[in-house]
């Protein structure tokens, strides 16, 4: 079983579009969707509703503005934990505000991609992300 892609996204439209884009690129990895920051941490640390989670995801696509616990807080928490410290995280968000960029990189995101409005561009962005992180990139040892 291939490791999953964790999509952390609260907007149902964006969720649908991202899944559509991923499907178009034909990646084999299953996609797990969580819709707020708290659920994201539950999944990552195998707690609560996700206690039965078996493997850590291979890639996290993280939106920033989330209910309950926001994206940067999630990033901070997962970078602070030994289990998830090395997990590849791509911030996928609307915002191009300098503050978010700075914070995102400072807290240890691997990559920062702005969601384009044009769907064709979005599909292409997701395809490139997937190609890089799921195929080309070497997985950190403890996550294999």
């Amino acid at each position: 079983m291939l490791p999953a892609i964790l999509l952390v996204e609260d907007n149902p439209n964006d969720e649908a579009l991202t899944l559509r884009a991923l499907k178009k690129s034909n990646f084999a990895n299953p996609v797990v969707v969580v819709r707020d920051g708290a659920e994201a941490l539950d999944y990552l640390f195998a707690k609560g509703a996700h206690a039965a989670r078996e493997k850590l995801p291979q890639l996290v696509l993280l939106d920033l503005k989330l209910p309950k616990i926001d994206g940067l807080e999630v990033l901070k928490a997962l970078r602070a934990d030994e289990r998830t410290k090395l997990l590849p995280v791509v911030i996928l968000t609307s915002s191009l505000e300098e503050q978010d960029l700075i914070q995102g990189y400072s807290l240890g995101a691997n990559s920062y991609v702005r969601k384009p409005v044009n769907f064709a561009d979005f599909v292409e962005a997701v395809r490139q992300l997937g190609m890089y992180w799921l195929v080309l990139n070497e997985i950190p040892p403890n996550l294999r």
Binding site: N11, N13, D14, A16, L17, R20, L64, K65, T93, S94, S95, L96, E97, Q99, K115, P116, V117, N118, F119, A120, F122
Partner: protein, 516 residues
């Protein structure tokens, strides 16, 4: 005129102690003469009839700067200006007629040494029958004393008229003087304040600073004024600024302290208002940033949905859509795109106002070259002639000025798209003593009667069909230039071209710029 010509020193002739002045008439006369000669005030005697000088002493010669030989036998009119002579004679007559002493505390007199002030007493000398035969005058030169007193009076007037409170006190802090300003400030009259300890003015918790200051002043340090709290007679606390000075007497000894006390309540109120205004501005700025952040995030998401699901519709249901249906969806998608661009442009505009200007040296020419190179790379088929002047160096924010140049240059590029031979020029010129940069093109130009609309947000002078664009770029450019203290204007002719000029609030330059 020297005073001592022809005057023999009488003391050399007689020594009163030796001769018997009470017995020998000659020696007695000489004795009296010696006394008159040596009196340090001017002594003169005039005869009662003609008021001509009969006697004049050495001090008088010195004072008037005239030898007595010149004076004796003559009267005032021979020596003094007519006005003055008349004045003297009037007093003389009053003395003789009234047969009593007449005193002039201050009379001005023109002498060979300039104007002097005299304190003069005139006394009639009567014969046995009581008839005045002589007029005796004694004048003390009070010029120096008068000058000192005048100076003191002027200073006192200054102190009295000052709106600041000026008071002085002994070294034991007992108040010795109190001006009108102090009364206005504290409410006590001079009578109420003088003689009281200065602690009268101090609220209980304050005043400790006084002691250290006196020590520092004694050491010769200059102590700057400081802010303090004082109490008025009605119990109100006053915010004041206090300056302290030592008072010395003529010998240089310290005899007291003087203080200038200024009411700074208004000043403090203004400071508080300014701080409040600044805080409010900062809060407003922060709120604006939060708003922009929301705009960035929240407005784009629905646009993504519009575009994405329109595309999904095309892909998934394309076979049941006719051409018209597909065109509708195309318009929907293009609108979503356009709106995204508008949002980005508005965000850029608001960011310009918010950000801090970082001043460095900026080469406008180099920026233009970069933008044009990029445009040529993305549009390799276009042939555009470019002329860029040298020396277009200026001080400003590199990032923001880069945006200005990029915007103007890409406009020039865009509007020359239909020209077979496009020409874009970048340079500087002198405009009313300041340096103005320009970006000139030979493109579509515009009608000058619409020039006022150029810089409005969302204003466009060409339809989207002719030239694409958001209509926000020039508004942003204008805002950036305004923040640099400069401004922008344009000149154009339809179908000939357009020139956009801008200044950067530079100091008036005396250097002649290259080019027109």
């Amino acid at each position: 005129m020297t005073a001592d010509k022809g005057v023999k020193d009488p003391t050399s002739e007689v020594s009163p102690a030796k001769a018997d002045v009470d017995v020998d008439p000659v020696h007695a006369a000489r004795f009296l003469d010696a006394i008159i000669e040596n009196i340090p005030d001017m002594i003169f005697v005039k005869d009662a009839e003609r008021l001509a000088f009969k006697k004049f002493n050495r001090a008088g010669e010195k004072l008037l700067g005239v030898a007595r030989a010149e004076l004796l036998g003559k009267n005032d009119f021979d020596f003094f200006p007519e006005e003055q002579a008349r004045f003297f004679q009037e007093k003389d007559r009053n003395t003789l007629i009234g047969k009593a002493l007449v005193e002039m505390e201050e009379e001005p007199i023109e002498t060979a040494n300039g104007r002097r002030w005299l304190h003069t007493k005139k006394v009639p000398v009567l014969d046995e029958s009581g008839t005045p035969i002589y007029l005796l005058g004694i004048s003390e030169d009070i010029t120096e004393r008068k000058q000192e007193e005048d100076a003191r009076r002027r200073l006192a007037a200054l102190v009295d008229s000052s709106s600041d409170g000026i008071l002085s006190m002994t070294m034991d802090h007992v108040i010795t003087t109190w001006n009108n300003g102090a009364q206005a400030l504290f409410g006590y009259t001079a009578a109420e304040a003088i003689g009281k300890p200065v602690s009268l003015l101090l609220p209980p918790e304050h005043g400790g600073e006084l002691f250290g200051i006196v020590e520092r002043l004694k050491r010769g340090e200059s102590v700057p004024s400081y802010e303090a709290v004082r109490r008025a007679s009605d119990g109100r606390d006053l915010d004041v600024s206090v300056s302290t000075f030592l008072i010395h007497n003529k010998k240089g000894e310290i005899i007291g302290l003087s203080k200038i006390v200024r009411d700074i309540t208004e000043l403090k109120r203004a400071e508080a208002a300014a701080t409040k205004a600044r805080d409010e501005a900062q809060t407003a700025n922060r709120e604006l940033e939060a708003f922009s952040y929301s705009v960035a995030h929240d407005l784009r998401a629905p646009l993504r949905a519009i575009d994405g699901f329109s595309q999904a519709l095309l892909e998934d249901c394309g076979d049941v859509l006719n051409e018209e249906g597909k065109q509708h969806l195309d318009r929907v998608r293009k609108s979503a795109q356009h709106m995204a661009e508008l949002i980005d442009a508005l965000l850029a505009l608001s960011r310009v106002t918010r950000s801090e200007l970082v001043q460095t040296t900026v080469d406008i020419g180099a920026l233009a070259r970069e933008s044009l190179n990029l445009l040529q790379q993305t549009n390799p088929l276009r042939e555009v002639e470019v002329k860029i002047q040298e020396g277009l160096v200026v001080s400003g924010d590199a990032r923001l000025l880069g945006a200005v140049v990029e915007n103007l240059v890409s406009n020039a590029w865009k509007f020359t798209a239909k020209r077979a031979h496009a020409l874009i020029e970048i340079g500087s010129t002198s405009e009313a003593g300041t340096r103005a940069f320009y970006v000139r093109d030979n493109g579509a130009g515009f009608d000058m009667s619409y020039a006022a609309k150029l810089f409005g947000v969302f204003q466009r002078l060409h339809s989207a069909a002719e030239f694409e664009g958001t209509g926000v770029g020039l508004a942003t450019v204008q805002r950036i230039l305004r923040r640099h203290g400069g401004y922008i204007w344009a000149e154009a002719l339809p179908n000939v071209g357009a020139t956009f000029y801008f200044t950067l609030g530079e100091a008036t330059s005396t250097q002649d710029q290259k080019g027109s």
